[in-house]
Symmetry: C2
Subunit: 367 residues, 2 copies
DNA sequence: CTGAAAGCGCTAACAC
DNA sequence: GTGTTAGCGCTTTCAG
């Protein structure tokens, strides 16, 4: 790779000082046209690329924003994925016949995908690049810290790091918490209207559709959103004067399979409710799977609703009524808040709550 | 934010030298138990987080890998997405009735999502974090360079930067090119078996299904994969002794709408082929849309196939026959090659070609 | 408009 | 084991 050119090399070749080279990059207009031209010519000729590390150290800002997620990919598919050099060199294709009903791949990753996309977009708009990290197992701790050391600000998904850890990191750089329950502390926070969305959906079922016999399928208790959605469900029942149980009777784990199980349990009971409201789309799709197998027609015999607004719900039959979270906007908002915080360090903590949309489709409304 | 603690602060408080503090992080076992404890105690008390910039500068390695994509999101949805502080503080939810047939969101982003996920996973396994950047418009140039200055190695999706640019950057750090045509130069390259996959699919149509009247819908000419897929199509016809046109007669732009247009053009002709093979799934779904509107039954009257293996193709009716690209593996392989290159700088350029799978579903095989 | 010089916070020999 | 001491490659006053 030879020797990597530095400012000194460029300066020497262009017959200027390193300060001038630096200026050409930071405030080009402050350098005389002719001088600038010479510098750029050298940059090009030498293939000079400024060292981000050196810049960051000297300027005390890196131009990088961090995005940290909890790692919920299955740890078992993390095995090595070897490619023999020989084997890999020749292209190949095998033929597979896909029997219907294959399991759904990519669990709830879609959530991250969209948040990430929004974050990246917004970071770019503000002139930053994005460092992404996933906290997996016991390396999570080190990963965030490492990231915190390299960025100007950090967006952290609720639940991916401990509260103490975050507060600690916040002493060094601004930290924005994304999703999860609202918080009164010193960290900026961005979330969506989980409770309000669920409330609006359930209220629609009760008021507009005249349904008053509704079962609820909750998700994992460790999810920050799960609790809020249940609260929204409960408050809608309350408002309608319907007695609400103290806690959800059915609980899945946010997966489609979990929804299928919950569905089976529901069907095994003596009484079938008119509607089943699920804490997310995956589980709702699972409940529909079970209903179909049992010969129950959705929505005429059983109304099913989800939450999130994933694509699979738009493509299913019947299409799924749901509450759409603005995931991409969530990512964008988080970065916006972060960037703003960067310029106004003293401002008091912000808490942004994004609106959601209840999307009515055929799983609740007969066509 | 107060003063940010440095190694010096930690060293002073623990009564050791900065070298020892540094060692506690890099080779903990080389420091006496008791000393290490004192240092860690100080780290904790002060909330010390090592500066990535300083580390990177001194060690000449950053522990960061870069992933650079071309930006193909629509530039128009990049407008500001303002949130008034007041408005945003109160949660809210609106109700929307989703009429069927809404346009498909998220064009071919899914490709990136998966590649990104694979890359991140592999980077994590190797102890790196990932810096992601998207080249949008005329900032693309600056963005890659900026990234190149901050990472130990870079994975670049073919077409997102000019050849010259890449070669230039490769003088500073290892660069792995992902996708696109195979290349004989000095850059490492990772791709999938586009031609082989298309060939296998078309051969199946001809040999197993007895189809010999096949139309082809190509994608944008600027896609590096488009050409290869066409080649695979052509070679399959050749092998079967069927005359193949010099170039694709129909061309979409890889979008569903493009597929619909191509479908309409096809149907307007005097002769209807038995099958239409598309350069990607989105277009295939678009062709199916058109066929349905025209009252043509797929696959009995018209066979339609795609390429990529996106989820929408698994969820469509009929389900789409396609060639699945191992996108996540592609991302993983690219990072693996990069990491390997990092440890063996002198090794000659590698070219890895990943296998694909032809997935047979109801859009080509009557149930 | 340009140059000189002082760091930025850490790692990595090299001594002790 | 632990301390000393050079830098790493830039940015940023401060002069001129």
């Amino acid at each position: 790779m030879g020797k990597i050119p530095t400012v000194y090399d460029v300066a020497t070749r262009a017959g200027v000082s390193i300060a001038t080279v630096s200026r050409v990059f930071s405030r080009p207009e402050s350098v005389k046209e002719e001088t600038r031209r010479r510098v750029l010519e050298s940059v090009d000729a030498l293939g000079y690329v400024p060292s981000g590390a050196a810049r960051g150290l000297a300027a005390r800002r890196t131009g990088v924003l961090g995005l940290f997620f909890p790692g919920l990919d299955a740890m078992d598919d993390i095995a090595d994925i070897p490619f023999d050099d020989g084997d890999a060199l020749t292209g190949s294709a095998t033929i597979v016949r896909d029997v219907a009903g294959a399991v759904d791949t990519r669990p709830l990753n879609l959530y991250f995908d969209e948040v990430l996309r929004g974050s990246e977009l917004e970071a770019w708009r503000s002139g930053f690049v994005l460092l992404v990290g996933v906290g997996r197992g016991d390396t999570a701790h080190d990963t965030v810290r490492d990231m915190a050391g390299r960025v100007d600000g950090l967006v952290v998904l609720a639940g991916s790091a401990s509260e103490d850890e975050l507060l600690q990191l916040a002493r060094r750089i601004p930290v924005v918490v994304m999703a999860g329950p609202s918080r009164g502390d010193e960290l900026d926070h961005v979330s969506v209207s989980n409770a309000e969305g669920m409330n609006a959906l359930v209220t629609h079922l009760i008021v507009d559709l005249g349904v008053n016999d509704i079962a609820y399928v909750a998700g994992s208790t460790d999810s920050p959103d799960d609790e809020e959605r249940w609260r929204g469900f409960r408050s809608a029942l309350h408002a309608a004067g319907i007695e609400a149980p103290a806690g959800p009777a059915l609980r899945g784990d946010f997966t489609r399979e979990g929804g299928r199980r919950a569905g089976r349990e529901l069907l095994s009971r003596e009484h079938l409710p008119r509607a089943v409201v699920c804490a997310n789309d995956q589980m709702a799709l699972g409940v529909i799977d079970t209903a179909r197998i049992a010969g129950l027609e959705v929505p005429t015999q059983l109304i099913v609703t989800g939450f999130d607004g994933i694509d699979a719900g738009r493509l299913s039959t019947p299409r799924l009524t749901t509450v759409r979270q603005p995931m991409e906007r969530l990512g964008r908002a988080a970065v916006q808040v972060l960037v703003r915080r960067l310029s106004e360090p003293e401002r008091s903590a912000m808490s942004v709550r994004l609106p959601v949309e209840v999307i009515l489709r055929e799983s609740s409304e007969p066509a």
